[in-house]
């Protein structure tokens, strides 16, 4: 495990830690707003009342330790989960899971899901008339290694139309779900591919107003992880909220 910034060595009389780590808030503009009219589904689903501040206490600075036991031997390879190979450009997607201070998050669960090469999800509600691929489920799981590195083998998902606005198409993307080490670090996001012409037209991508933050959603082509005669490599590093060095002192009881 990562060495905590603050060792919880001092304890209260009930055994609880006397000091807790704290996690940095996201810089302004680096996270999408909950109310974003360009993405119509936010209209009836965003809270209309302001969020109240939840102090980071023991429940918030801890989180589920999910790792081995959640991942099968072929879960990281979405091209080998069926009798045959799926159709589409084979790719390797890899990167590191770190916190905002550069500390790797080892032995941590990374979950992905995606459309097939034609932009179709294996989901009952996806009616877009592009065929399902009998050799592709579109679901993967992996664990980060001791250095926070993860790797998947999959196929490049296709763009697909959605009903958000006139002639709306989602840029190709892979959904990512990661936990980090604390409830505060939980993150579900989407990885995009470099130079997608649909970026300018996609309200979900553009809901992140800060340009530099938005670019962190875009993977980069990675020649070093490209395997000759076999698969293109893409790198997607994921950064979770960092820990503050100044601990929060628990009130003594």
């Amino acid at each position: 495990m990562v060495t905590p910034t603050t060792q919880p060595d001092a304890t209260l009389s009930n055994g609880a830690p006397a000091a807790l780590p704290r996690y940095r808030p996201a810089p302004p503009g680096s996270q999408p707003p909950l109310d974003f009219p360009g993405y119509r589904s936010t209209t009836l689903r965003h809270p209309s009342q302001p969020l109240l501040l939840l102090p980071q206490r023991l429940t918030e600075v801890t989180g589920p330790v999910l790792g081995p036991g959640r991942v099968g031997p072929l879960d990281h390879d979405l091209t080998r989960q069926h009798a045959g190979e799926p159709i589409g450009p084979r790719i390797i997607v890899h990167g590191t899971l770190r916190d905002g201070d550069g500390r790797p998050v080892p032995n941590s669960l990374v979950e992905i899901w995606q459309a097939n090469a034609g932009g179709r999800y294996r989901h009952k509600a996806d009616n877009w008339p592009s065929p399902l691929d009998p050799n592709f489920t579109g679901v993967g799981r992996a664990l980060t290694d001791a250095h926070g590195h993860y790797e998947f083998v999959t196929i490049k998902p296709g763009a697909y139309p959605w009903g958000n606005h006139d002639n709306a198409w989602r840029p190709a993307h892979i959904h990512f779900s990661v936990f980090g080490q604390a409830f505060t670090q939980r993150l579900v996001t989407q990885m995009y591919f470099p130079d997608d012409p649909l970026f300018a037209h996609d309200p979900i991508f553009n809901s992140v107003r800060d340009e530099a933050a938005r670019q962190r959603l875009v993977s980069s082509f990675d020649l070093e992880h490209t395997i000759e005669q076999w698969a293109l490599g893409f790198r997607f590093d994921i950064v979770l909220r960092g820990r503050l060095a100044t601990p929060f002192e628990e009130p003594h009881q």
Partner: protein
């Protein structure tokens, strides 16, 4: 201290030297999260048959009062003694999972199988909840409190920070086999959501 004030006390990277990376932004789970995230044992914070186990059921509603069929609830809670299986809790409760996950049904319903959490230092027993859905660009966070702990609620600092007329949105309602906790993302009876 507000999030902005907390940020102001910590100039980027000041406490860790030069290195600081901004976090990867959140994006919505979209309408098809159900292919990727549910697990067969997702709702089981505790194994079936655990003494004292009960169900928390609920429905996720949108601002029209319509159920949300493409949402997911995740819960995180202490064990009955108020301990976590985590390196930042020195009383480490080895093997305590504490985590539950349930995608919503076509009727917007979810279920979590668990036991009552214990009290935390200075706080009444509670369950932290993340709600994900199509149309939520980031998760929203709320808390479940239980009617069994009314005395502790009176002294709970988080509940005290919530306007009195909205506190009931954080309170589970007892049922025949557990509790009900509905989530109203917007509108009348809107659930209290937190910035963590």
């Amino acid at each position: 201290m507000t999030a902005a004030e907390l940020a102001a006390t910590d100039p980027l990277g000041a406490d860790v030297g030069a290195h600081f990376d901004g976090p990867t932004p959140s994006q919505t789970v979209g309408p098809y999260l159900a292919i990727g995230l549910p697990w067969p044992d997702g709702p089981d914070v505790v194994p079936p048959g655990t003494p004292g186990a009960f169900r928390i059921v609920g429905t996720v509603y949108d601002g029209h009062g319509d159920p949300v069929p493409d949402a997911m609830i995740e819960t995180w809670q202490a064990d009955p003694d108020g301990h976590f299986d985590h390196p930042d809790d020195p009383r480490r409760a080895a093997g305590w999972r504490g985590f539950g996950r349930s995608a919503t049904t076509d009727a917007g319903g979810y279920v979590i199988n668990t036991v009552l959490p214990g009290a935390l230092p200075g706080q009444a027993p509670h369950v932290d909840v993340s709600v994900f859905a199509r149309g939520l660009l980031d998760r929203v966070v709320t808390r479940i409190y239980f009617p069994d702990h009314a005395e502790a609620h009176a002294a709970d600092p988080v509940l005290a920070s919530v306007p009195e007329q909205r506190r009931a949105t954080l309170l589970a309602v007892r049922t025949d086999d557990g509790y009900r906790f509905d989530v109203h993302l917007q509108g009348p009876g809107e659930t209290v959501f937190f910035d963590v």
